[in-house]
Symmetry: C2
DNA sequence: CTGAAAGCGCTTACAG
DNA sequence: CTGAAAGCGCTTACAG
């Protein structure tokens, strides 16, 4: 393997000078710069990031840990973070917790060991394990999408409340009173907050919140199917369903289809998270939309501030109901 | 920061012994093991991967570079690689080329600098740039999904031919003779191979391949829309459309919907790549299916073999037509 | 502007 | 089974 010594030898300078040229230190002569540049090109030299990181404080690398890369929202988020990080001169190491705290800890440990300059994480669990290590080591950290209560970490989250309030109000206006809710896991902040928002919205619409109309899912597709299955087996099923994320909405839709239930004037569906092709479904799916692009770009911005020693405030991004055909028909009474 | 010296001091052993315990070297006494383990736990010590990598030959880290993380096929592939790598004791660093050769080179350089033990890449471009460096350095490399011709790198690809032949034959059986094809970029092997497969399949069905019925897209959604737009402006538009990947199929569908064209007895659509929710569309979308899970698991397996000094053969995975409602009606003649 | 030297945090022959 | 020592490939005060 070629090292900086080889480059220095070929250029006829010391390794120190070669290093200065490589890192853009202005204390170099134009002649040295040319000779070193030529040697680097000739040898196709790539500096060893490990050795470099061992001496300097930073690696120009950040970690991004998402909870489920197959969830389109997180794929979009990953893309947005990567692009923003690249512009800021950082390479992103992406890890996927796969909704498991153990896997989250594994990746977090790997990122700590890699000495990333900072970490953006959609956290799982209660803040024990590697999340705790992260904070104890004062590694610059930003929470995205979700937070862990009690931890003083800057975050970028969505104000789910507004969108959910709009959705419930809209469904009520369409004549629905039995609005079923497929919730996310309650040990995840978004799961918990969105359920609370639903309960508040129902109450402020003057509706009774029945335990039977709340199904506890896990943000994955199968639990959306299970939720619909449970709802359909009720003596008096809900006429509208609100799913707390896109994957559960997909699962819900699959089960509705399988059971022969058509979306329309008797059954409405609204999903949290806007996915491009939701608009292509027949009927097109109403959604509560929030921007993965904004979330990713903002997270990188906050992380840069933390790396620079600042203490940025947390940011809440808006959510908004987009009404499409899946919920826009007035409820017609069911046949007896 | 705590180092192995702190651990050694607290445990009352030398750094050498602490290092041996940490790396599972059997030449350690049970007592040393206990004392070091206790010290590690007490100090929450995480070894510096950089320093470790600088001495030892491997980092237990692999790089995965996909061409577009927002393409569900690659998100599934990333998930599969990550899980298989984890089981083999590797952490995956995921990069996203975003269908740009410049960005591919950036990530590849970063991965080389990080001294990953191996790289799995869905390559762009002609094999110059950092792909060349990769090979010159003899860094264990596997191509997935795509290849670069002329490079002797083990690969895991899909046999697109079978699926496309089945799709064309099926459409012909349904009465279609004007079958439009929305192709991927021709400088990418999958784009090129699939177009060739279409041409061959058309010929063997005795159909004329008209240039007007081939649209050159770029594997992204917008180009699918553009393809449909072009087709619809023909004097005699195709009655069936085959799109070379899922994103272009989504774009195609969006444009068909916008133009008020219903899928059914007058217009059929088949997509390459099976995405979970394609089955939920109305009508459900016919697809040429291939498994991202198998591809990811196989790629990790091949990479392990290369890392171990073996020379595995390339693997071709099957593709298969799945007929759904979007193409299963017999063609009815258009009104004049 | 440049070079010699020390050192980042580990690991690994070597000797015992 | 253990420790002292050398060294991985860089960077960075230090002195000139």
């Amino acid at each position: 393997v070629t090292t900086i010594k080889d480059v220095a030898a070929l250029a006829g300078v010391s390794p120190a000078t070669a290093s200065r040229v490589l890192s853009g230190n202005p204390a170099t002569s134009p002649e040295s710069r040319d000779r070193v540049a030529a040697a680097v090109a000739h040898l196709d030299f790539k500096p060893n990031a490990q050795a470099r990181a061992l001496r300097s404080a930073h690696t120009q690398t950040i970690g991004l840990l998402v909870s489920d890369i197959r969830n389109p929202f997180f794929a979009d988020l990953a893309h947005a973070v990567e692009q923003a990080a690249l512009e800021a001169g950082y390479v992103t190491l992406l890890g996927n917790a796969n909704e498991q705290t153990s896997q989250q800890d594994l990746y977090l440990d790997a990122m700590i060991s890699q000495r990333v300059d900072g970490i953006i994480v959609a956290p799982q669990g209660d803040g024990s394990g590697s999340i705790k290590s992260l904070i104890a080591r004062k590694i610059p950290t930003i929470f995205v999408d979700r937070v862990i209560s009690g931890l003083d970490v800057p975050s970028v989250t969505t104000d789910s409340d507004t969108g959910i309030r709009q959705a419930v109000a809209h469904l009520v206006a369409m004549g629905h009173t039995r609005i079923g809710y497929i919730a996310g896991p309650q040990n995840v902040s978004t799961g918990h907050d969105r359920l609370n928002a639903y309960v508040r919205a129902m109450k402020s619409a003057g509706l009774i919140v029945e335990p039977d109309l709340m199904f506890y899912g896990d943000f994955q597709a199968d639990s959306g199917s299970a939720g619909v299955h449970a709802f359909l087996s009720l003596a008096d099923p809900p006429t509208a369903i609100l799913a707390a994320d896109s994957l559960m909405a997909i699962g819900a839709l699959a089960m509705l289809t399988r059971q022969g239930v058509q979306l329309g004037s008797r059954t409405a569906l609204v999903a949290f998270d806007d996915i491009e092709w939701f608009a292509l479904l027949k009927p097109a799916l109403s959604v509560i939309s929030h921007s993965a692009e904004d979330m990713g770009a903002t997270a990188v911005q906050l992380l840069k501030q933390v790396i620079d020693g600042e203490s940025p405030s947390s940011v809440q991004l808006p959510s908004e109901l987009i009404v499409r055909a899946s919920s826009s028909e007035r409820l017609r009474a069911r046949r007896k």
